[in-house]
């Protein structure tokens, strides 16, 4: 059916937009639900923690529009956010938009490097476990996957830092600037998810390995490995891309802690910093940008899958 792909894409776009609206409402509402008067919190932060007088507070609230109805305040906030004004930091008094976007870029570098690393390790491993199914290597990889799931990320990061930077002195333990700084964080996040990724790709490949076309491939004389590479892998590709998108969620959770630990100026560390310094506008902006980036990635994954799989391309 011509046009149905466009309809389905439109549907995806609309539901992503709906999700974003919901996230922005939650992001806005959370700060207003906060214990204490929001205007008072903001003003007293600007006055170095002193409690403002009632008149000053009233004047400030009127000036900033805190007396307006909440829906109106929400729309104003949303309008500002859409035009690139995400608010002003309580601590520095600077506009936060540029900082937040810069940090987001740094995090993306780390997240994609980690995702790439985990896939580069996991794909060949998964192929090997399927080729030599139930062998020693297969069982070993299952045990490693449990280990990867059960190890606390921050502790694993500390251990790697202890070995590679404090003991061996090969890599810097903290900071940003050269490529060496990115190695340890990437290694931590990438290897911590690659065990689970391997198992998942393995089970996707096994789904394909039992299908009739694989028997045909074997009958016409393909070796098991080339049958896997030429037939099973392309058929599993859309599911693997979906998996990679899902793994980004896990990777992003890891990024928050690992950035904080290695002093990498990414958005996860910014979120933690804004929390600990109780810089609420910055926290709100950071959260909004993370959520938008997230929904965008999910959409991108869906579109990639639709593009990769002719069945989806035709059928939806």
């Amino acid at each position: 059916m011509p046009g149905s792909l466009a309809t389905s894409l439109l549907h995806r776009l609309l539901s992503s937009a709906g999700l974003l609206v919901a996230v922005s409402v939650v992001g806005f509402a959370l700060l207003r639900l906060m214990p204490g008067d929001f205007a008072e919190v903001l003003l007293s932060a600007q006055m170095d923690g002193e409690l403002p007088s009632a008149e000053a507070l009233a004047a400030y609230a009127a000036d900033q529009g805190f007396d307006d109805p909440l829906p109106l305040q929400y729309l104003r906030w949303l309008g500002n956010a859409l035009t690139g004004d995400l608010g002003v930091s309580l601590i520095t008094g600077d506009a936060v938009t540029q900082e937040v976007l810069l940090r987001l870029g740094n995090s993306f570098i780390l997240a994609f490097a980690a995702l790439t690393l985990s896939l580069v390790i996991a794909l060949p491993l998964a192929l090997a476990t399927v080729r030599f199914r139930n062998g020693l290597f297969d069982r070993l990889s299952a045990a490693v996957a449990v280990l990867g799931m059960s190890i606390p990320n921050f502790w694993y990061a500390l251990l790697l830092a202890l070995v590679f930077s404090l003991t061996l002195g090969w890599l810097p333990s903290s900071g940003y600037g050269t490529w060496q700084h990115a190695v340890l964080p990437t290694l931590v996040i990438g290897t911590s998810v690659c065990g689970v990724t391997t198992r998942y790709i393995r089970s996707l490949l096994l789904d394909e390995a039992g299908r009739p076309y694989m028997r045909t491939a074997a009958a016409k004389g393909l070796t098991p490995l080339s049958a896997l590479l030429r037939h099973a892998l392309p058929n599993a590709a859309p599911a693997i891309v979906t998996l990679a998108g899902l793994q980004l969620a896990r990777i992003f959770d890891g990024v928050i802690i690992v950035e904080t630990l290695f002093g990498w100026p990414g958005i996860g560390r910014l979120l933690v910093e804004s929390l600990l310094s109780r810089d609420f506008p910055l926290m709100q902006a950071t959260f909004l940008v993370i959520a938008v980036g997230y929904v965008a990635i999910n959409l991108l994954v869906d579109l990639t899958v639709a593009g990769l799989d002719p069945r989806v391309r035709e059928a939806v």
């Binding site: 999700l19 996230v23 606390p152 921050f154 065990g195 039992g210 992003f252 929390l275 997230y294």
Partner: protein, 293 residues
């Protein structure tokens, strides 16, 4: 993380060894439970008692695992930490399981607008990175222990709602439910007496896996300085405080980290055993049904 990924590791391998003899894991779990219950009685010292003269003492007869930078006994701190982690994580899991199951049953059995609304919401939450969302929620509620528990619960109940809803939709049209409807049983009775017991097994399995996630997240948040006060005998916090001595005294970082890891592995293995018992693989990952033996 989606539950589908969680199940995928468990086809064979180590699982074959564990599942053939679940007694070993069960025994370990019972031993761990005893440690949690009687930890404070077993602990040789007060976990917050500082002894500056004995700071950073090596493991020995006085202090089996040595002391930390404040001269506090490591073994006692680990034992108290086990209880704190277990109680906190169990509280989160029980509350989220109860709430999520309620929503899932209502959505799955009732259907209609509540179903679509609830599932939209669940889908929306599960798309966002869980730790980032819980950080923000914890930040708004004030970074204390209560705030962290609320935050973890707020992002976690959706998993239960989704799984229970999908199970309920399948069970809803089975003969035993139709029979109950035919004799005129009220909806709440069908849900409580017939549906709930039939989704109970998979729920237990999900509970085990989510317990391990909550433990890791709780330790991670404490490590970042949220939740517990400085100096509290909590595993994540202990690692954070031992960081500056990591190079000369790696054991201060190793001991709490190994404790977390052992605990989480144990719970994951228990989850595998439960999963095997109730044959719930297909619940968590539908595409596995199509696989040939």
């Amino acid at each position: 993380m989606p539950a589908g990924l969680r199940r995928s590791r468990s086809d064979l391998g180590y699982r074959r060894v564990v599942l053939r003899r679940p007694g070993g894991v069960t025994l370990l779990a019972v031993m761990f439970l005893l440690l949690v219950l009687f930890g404070p009685q077993l602990a040789p010292y007060d976990p917050t008692l500082t002894d500056i003269l004995n700071r950073l003492a090596a493991p020995g007869w006085d202090h089996l695992l040595g002391t930390d930078a404040m001269g506090r006994d490591m073994l006692s701190r680990l034992l108290y930490g086990a209880r704190l982690t277990t109680v906190a994580a169990l509280a989160v899991v029980l509350v989220t399981a109860a709430f999520g199951t309620l929503v899932g049953l209502a959505a799955g059995y009732g259907g209609g607008w509540f179903d679509s609304l609830a599932m939209r919401f669940v889908e929306g939450v599960s798309v966002l990175p869980a730790l980032a969302v819980s950080l923000v929620i914890a930040g708004i509620f004030g970074l204390g222990l209560k705030a962290v528990l609320i935050a973890l619960a707020a992002v976690h109940w959706t998993e239960y709602a989704r799984v229970v809803r999908n199970l309920t939709v399948v069970e809803r049209n089975k003969p035993y439910v139709l029979a109950a409807q035919a004799i005129g049983a009220p909806g709440w009775r069908i849900v409580a007496r017939h549906l709930l017991p039939n989704v109970g097994g998979p729920l237990l399995v999900l509970g085990a896996y989510s317990l391990s996630w909550v433990i890791l997240a709780f330790a991670g948040l404490s490590f970042l300085g949220l939740g517990v006060e400085p100096g509290t005998p909590e595993w994540g916090r202990m690692i954070a405080e031992a960081r500056s001595h990591m190079r000369s005294y790696p054991r201060l970082v190793l001991a709490p980290g190994l404790s977390i890891m052992a605990f989480v592995i144990l719970i994951n293995l228990l989850g595998d055993i439960l999963g095997d018992r109730w044959r719930v693989d297909q619940v968590f990952s539908p595409n596995r049904n199509q696989r040939n033996p």
